[in-house]
Amino acid sequence: MDCEKARELMLEFVEGTLSPRQAEEVKAHVESCPECMRELEDQSSRTRALQALGRVRAPDQWEEISRAIDEPGARVRPGGWKGWIRRWWPALVVLAIVAAAVVIFTQL
């Protein structure tokens, strides 16, 4: 394995998502290449630091969300054909009127 390939796989090596065979190949390369070893140490430190940042405590917004849901226009929108018809009914009505007008006009 060359440096380019080893560096491409380094993230997954650090995160433990490589196959055992690939991990062995990366390990063998890194042990014989001081530059890649340094790169691996950096990658590993950075990953651990990111994982250590942790989470913030989320505010409880249930009351405000619950109030917003109760406002008109915030009802559950049905999916499937019912939802489609509910969204597009004005356009369908216009289309039906135009179609009816065309039929009547052509028969005159």
């Binding site: 990111l50 989470r55 913030v56 929108r77 999916g79």
Partner: protein, 205 residues
């Protein structure tokens, strides 16, 4: 309610309009949604707005949820998309949001209780967060989903609707950028992690 799956709760809530089913979903996901938004938009108040909008959208669109992906991926997808929109909007509004976002981060961090941060010292946190802030929102999103939310590459792929290969290449790019940014700031991450771990051990003793 507590022992029901997310999908059962969605079906129950869509079928009957039961507020308690939606409430259960809210409390299951509020931390995940807020944290994802907070890390992408970089500001506590804007993350609150994003979080609010996400749950309203889930409430409104749940009827159209076809169960092709997990509920978890769906709500993360809505959160990431809404957060990316918010980042774009903020950038347009302010020209350059980075200084603002960093100020927001500092004030938010004073307000937020962060017991989990003991593994990193304060300097390391600040340096890393400042570097994260400089990433593009798309790169930030994969970092957040991977390291803050602990999603697998496959789950991230489902959330962002791109192949696993794209997830890995974005993560690699994000790491390369972070490395360059931290180096430019003259910060040694390895030392920060060592200090943090020493401090953590000292606190435990």
């Amino acid at each position: 309610m507590k022992d029901r799956t997310d999908e059962d709760l969605v079906k129950h809530f869509v079928g009957t309009g039961a507020r308690e089913a939606f409430g259960e979903l809210y409390y299951r996901y509020k931390d995940k949604v807020f944290n994802t938004a907070y890390r992408i938009v970089g500001d506590y108040e804007r993350a609150r707005d994003v979080s609010h909008d996400v749950f309203l959208k889930v409430h409104t669109d749940a009827g159209g949820f076809r169960f092709k992906s997990s509920f978890s991926s769906w709500i993360y997808r809505i959160t990431v998309n809404r957060s990316l929109d918010e980042s774009r909007r903020a950038r347009r509004r302010k020209g350059d949001v980075s200084m603002d976002a960093m100020a927001g981060e500092l004030s938010s961090r004073r307000r937020a209780d962060r017991p989990e941060d003991a593994a990193l010292d304060h300097e390391s946190q600040s340096e890393l967060l400042a570097a994260l802030e400089r990433l593009s929102p798309k790169l930030k999103a994969v970092i957040v989903l991977r390291y803050f939310e602990g999603l697998s590459y496959e789950q991230i792929a489902e959330v962002i609707e791109h192949p696993v290969g794209t997830v890995k290449s974005r993560l690699r790019r994000a790491h390369r950028k972070l490395a360059a940014l931290l180096e430019r700031r003259g910060y040694d991450v390895a030392r920060g992690v060592r200090n943090g771990l020493r401090k953590g051990k000292g606190t435990d003793a």
